[in-house]
Amino acid sequence: MKKPVRFIQRIASPTVLAYLTKRLGYYAVLLAVAVFVSYVLSSLALSPRGYFEGRQPPPPAESVEAQLTALGINDHTPLLERFTTWLSHAVRGDLGRTIDSGSVGEEFGRRIGVSLRLLLAGTVLGTAAGILAGAWGALRQYRFSDRAVTVFAFLLLSTPTFLLAVLLKVGAMKVNQSAGTELISFTGEKTPGLTGSVGTLLGDRAVHLLLPTLSIALGTAAAYSRYQRGTMLDVLGSDFLRTARAKGLTYRRAVLTHGLRTALVPMSTFFAYGFLALFTGAAFTEKIFGWHGMGSWFIDSIGKSDVNSVVAVNVFAAVMVLLSGFLADVLHAALDPRVRTS
């Protein structure tokens, strides 16, 4: 394959490298400001002291003090000092300890894994289904099937994620109720304490994945179907599609080889953001289905006034946003020769 090689060569040319350096510099400034503001906001708004003091039985004052200091979140230490201490560790890769004295870094690894397992299937399925439905709807514009897809997509887009998840859960409860046994399990990643063959365990996980996957896939598909329908309609009216038909391609073939490929170019942005959203997790879905991924970690940390965890998740999310923007550009360049060459 010479294509990727050529692409990489172009990417690696001095002008592009100079450009990349400039761009990374800009990102670094943005990130630095974001980190600082996140830390300050979290430290001011959250009260870990209150968390410790509220424990039953109430711990002695000096132990609270010692605990807070050990975690680097003692509000008696000046804010700027706390920040510099945190930063000096953070740049060395040490993100500090959670309020329960676990390692934030280790927690990260665990949580990202959970979020990935939760979101991967739903995102992939939803993206594929959305693109197909959108392209199909555009081809059948204003016919009944297009209208049906449109109304269904709007209905899903108008249902907030948390509500969709709750509705799915309620539906599953109904099914279980009428079946008399738990056909569909929807809490957590797996049935605790279940033993058996690899097949049984995998099957159990698959059943647990059903509802969250559905909830994510439906929302994703609805959104993608709308964008894809739009880009597809743009392409269907284009001159080059007409040229392709003028040379003797059937409508179907012209749309497949010339239309769809071109209509995917503007979608690269969504692919990029969708892909990196896999790592930041889905707070509502995780909370409602009892998965301990990134999203629920964040919500729980706010509840526990866990400053270090909250800051870590914030910074991570900011990095992901920046990376998504960058990935979108790279994807765009890969899909569109007009962007690629100078």
Partner: protein, 323 residues
């Protein structure tokens, strides 16, 4: 050749169009065309009608029942819909009808205000950045990028509960502050292309004051987009509000919104469905109506904008904050 007709009288300068124009009926005005296109879209008309009904319900509906959303009827706990309590009662005897309507009103108000603030902010900032360019533009762009890098949901979740004392208006402010950037970006890029348009250039070459150009030429020409965007922003704001309130980061008790009501009712959805489904149904109905209306408005105001990048980006953002 037998010429029976005389050539039209030639004036001092024979003006071609003058002859034709009086015969041509004046084409229908922009507003009427838009109205007709709007009326031609069933989705949009239904959306508008439903919205009107919901507003009526939210603001006039509470007067139809003697119950207040804080009243507690100890004689009717967890009761289904009845003549006394139209939509039933909660586990502590609150009237669901009164509560849901109160929540609906709060959610509507929040949605409207957030969309209003965000759109005004976005249009002024975006148009100025796009028009003046240079350092104004660089500063605004940096600020927008910065706000976009902040995970909006996370920041609001941290800050909002601490603003409990200032009430729900602070929450509106927070949602607006994190809700204008994408619109501003679109307005900025629209302004940049408008700036290249000949009529703006003509105004510049005549020496029209820059601010006057922004307000007389730029903003009226992005108004179609702004109207549509603001409409859809109402839906987006209500979704954000309910989502945050569901997890306790938004509207705080004893105040209620659709989000808090859904949170309270979701556990009882199977056993006492009225506690859950009235609030949930109204929420979906409202956002759906807003989306249909926005879509219809887009088609009506600008026939080519059915698939503007703006729409894609707006939706992208909604999806991006998929929490």
């Amino acid at each position: 050749m037998t010429t029976t007709a005389t050539p039209p009288a030639a004036g001092p300068e024979h003006t071609p169009e003058r002859h034709a124009s009086p015969e041509r009926a004046a084409p229908p005005g922009r507003a009427r065309v838009a109205l007709r296109r709007f009326a031609g879209s069933p989705n949009a008309v239904v959306g508008a009608a439903v919205l009107l009904l919901l507003f009526l319900l939210a603001f006039a509906g509470p007067y139809l029942t003697p119950w207040n959303h804080t009243d507690i009827d100890y004689t009717a706990l967890r009761e289904g819909p009845s003549a006394d309590h139209w939509w039933g009662t909660t586990r502590i005897g609150q009237d669901v009808y009164a509560q849901v309507l109160h929540g609906l009103r709060k959610s509507l108000l929040i949605g409207l205000l957030v969309a209003l603030f965000a759109t005004v902010l976005a249009s002024v900032v975006g148009a100025c950045a796009g028009y003046f360019g240079g350092w104004t533009d660089r500063l605004v762009t940096f600020f927008i990028d910065l706000l976009l890098v902040f995970p909006a949901f996370l920041i609001i979740a941290i800050v909002s509960p601490r603003l409990r004392d200032t009430g729900w208006l602070a929450f509106v402010g927070l949602l607006a502050v994190f809700g204008w950037m994408i619109t501003a970006r679109v307005v900025r890029s629209m302004t940049r292309s408008l700036k290249e348009r000949d009529f703006v250039r003509a105004a510049e070459l005549m020496g029209v004051h820059p601010l006057r150009i922004v307000f007389r030429h730029i903003l009226p020409n992005v108004s179609s987009f702004l109207i549509v965007d603001a409409t859809i922003a109402v839906g987006g704001a209500v979704m954000s509000e309910t989502g945050l309130s569901y997890f306790g980061f938004g509207v705080q008790p004893p105040d209620v919104s659709l989000g808090t009501l859904i949170a309270d009712g979701s556990d009882a959805a199977l056993t006492y469905p009225w506690m859950f489904f009235f609030a949930a149904g109204l929420l979906v109905l409202f956002v759906l109506a807003v989306n249909f209306l926005g879509d219809g408005l887009r088609d009506a105001l600008d026939p080519t904008s059915d698939r503007t990048p703006a729409q894609k980006r707006r939706r992208a953002r909604r999806k991006g904050t998929r929490p």
